[in-house]
């Protein structure tokens, strides 16, 4: 039997786990790195807001860079309402409607009226029956928007339709107060208007 001379034979020679304190410089380095990481995080993290991406650093920064609203708020709102989709479904993006069914809004003699009384009624209560627009006859049904759209939204969408230069419309805007006045008058009326009925009314009513 041979003895392995490489193996330590005494208990003193066996390696032991000792405790050694961490060098001070390492601790300092660790905190310096931590500090740098936090500064970087502060500048690039967007404060955990998922809407903030670089180069924006926080939501206020992103908010600041939103395009200006422009002077005509009602018109801009009207564009949103029109494309919600509400009107756009039938009257189309270009405001030309569908021949025979949904009349055009672009260059329409109904839209161009100086007083918007009839238009507001159509939007609020809807329209039923054959209507003649620019000499052509249309026979579709328009649903009422009374319950879906507020006074401001109705005014906005009519302002958009009447003032849309892309469609060649340059007619005066509609104010929310005008819509509120008409809404009060047609409050108790449920069925849709017919074109004949509207023609009997004075447009300024």
């Amino acid at each position: 039997m041979s003895v392995d001379t490489n193996q330590p034979t005494t208990a003193e020679a066996t390696p032991k786990a000792l405790r050694e304190s961490v060098p001070v410089w390492l601790v300092i380095l660790f905190f310096v790195l931590l500090y740098c990481a936090m500064v970087y995080f502060d500048q690039h993290g967007g404060w955990f807001n998922e809407r903030v991406y670089s180069p924006y650093t926080r939501i206020e920064d992103l908010e600041k860079w939103q395009p200006p609203k422009g002077g005509d708020d009602l018109y801009a709102l009207g564009k949103l309402v029109y494309n919600k989709p509400t009107c756009v479904t039938c009257h189309q993006n270009d405001g030309n409607g569908t021949p025979g069914q949904f009349p055009p809004l672009a260059g329409s003699d109904w839209v161009s009226e100086a007083e918007p009384g009839r238009l507001i009624r159509i939007v609020l209560n809807g329209l039923q029956g054959s209507i003649t627009v620019n000499g052509k006859s249309y026979n579709g049904t328009m649903v009422p928007w009374k319950d879906q759209l507020s006074d401001k939204e109705v005014a906005a969408v009519l302002t958009y339709v009447r003032g849309n230069k892309d469609w060649g419309n340059k007619f005066p805007p509609v104010k929310p107060e005008q819509v509120a006045a008409v809404r009060a008058k047609v409050k108790d009326r449920a069925p849709a208007f017919t074109p004949d009925e509207l023609m009997k009314l004075s447009p300024s009513e």
Binding site: Y53, P55, K64, W65, Q66, P67, P68, K69, K79
Partner: protein, 307 residues
Amino acid sequence: MNYGPLIFLAAFFALSSSWFGLVLGPQLQVGRLQQTTTIPDGATYPLARPGLAHQGLDVYRANGCASCHTEQVRQTRTVCDIVLAEAGTNQTKMIAALQSARPGLSEADATRLLASLPKPVLEGVTREVGDHAYNVLGAAGAKVEMWIIPVGPDIARGWGKRRSVAEDFLYDYPVMPGSVRLGPDLANVGVRLADPNWQLIHLYAPRLEVKNSPMPPYRYLFEKRRIERMPSPDALKHPELNVEPGFEIVPKPEAKALVAYLGSLRAGEPIYETPLTVPATPAPGTNAPAAASAAATNTAPTNVPAK
């Protein structure tokens, strides 16, 4: 000494913290993303890819396109331009407003500027400077436009109008943003290179369309077949494409799907996360798609499909 529980706890802590940070955190942040609307038009964004384009995503994945192409545009900052569209009626007030908007502008220069509208008043300024000019000129009765313009190396190459955000990938599974750019970025390729025939030729023989392109040809997405009675309307047509007489190259469904997918890559709509103004008419001398820098970097193809 038994270190088992300690090792277990340390490993558990390490793995769970990375799970929290890399899986749960992002899931809580963007896991419930939904369609949003563009600013300020209010159109729905993004729209689901059409069926064929959705199949194309699988072809894109299967062919490893993402190993050489990215789909993410970077942006380093945002600037704004102030353009004077129409001057107000009061000339003196306008000149004063212009000088306030752009300090150091002489009266003669302001008059000259007013003579040829529309004209940019300020270019590449911060939002604060831009807001001041916008308000001052607006108060003087002028019609002012403010353009919000994202800036960055990728945008200068014409690869997109704005940075990519998580919203752009809403309908992609898996999301393949890529990390290596041996080829150009494809985030906006459907707008940049809209011609499907160009894309088909480019897939079949990249160097016919882009000189010295390092892209390998994907001929197995096409079929060479004998012309029976009538040539196929889908057959590739290119003056330099040499096909034996009586034969034609026809794209397989995979190639068509891939091209439909490429055509559907149209990230670039302005949304809340990445504000930007898309001018109806190109700005005079601003934000032009950098044709010069596109020519300088040989990976970027030209905007116009070569015919």
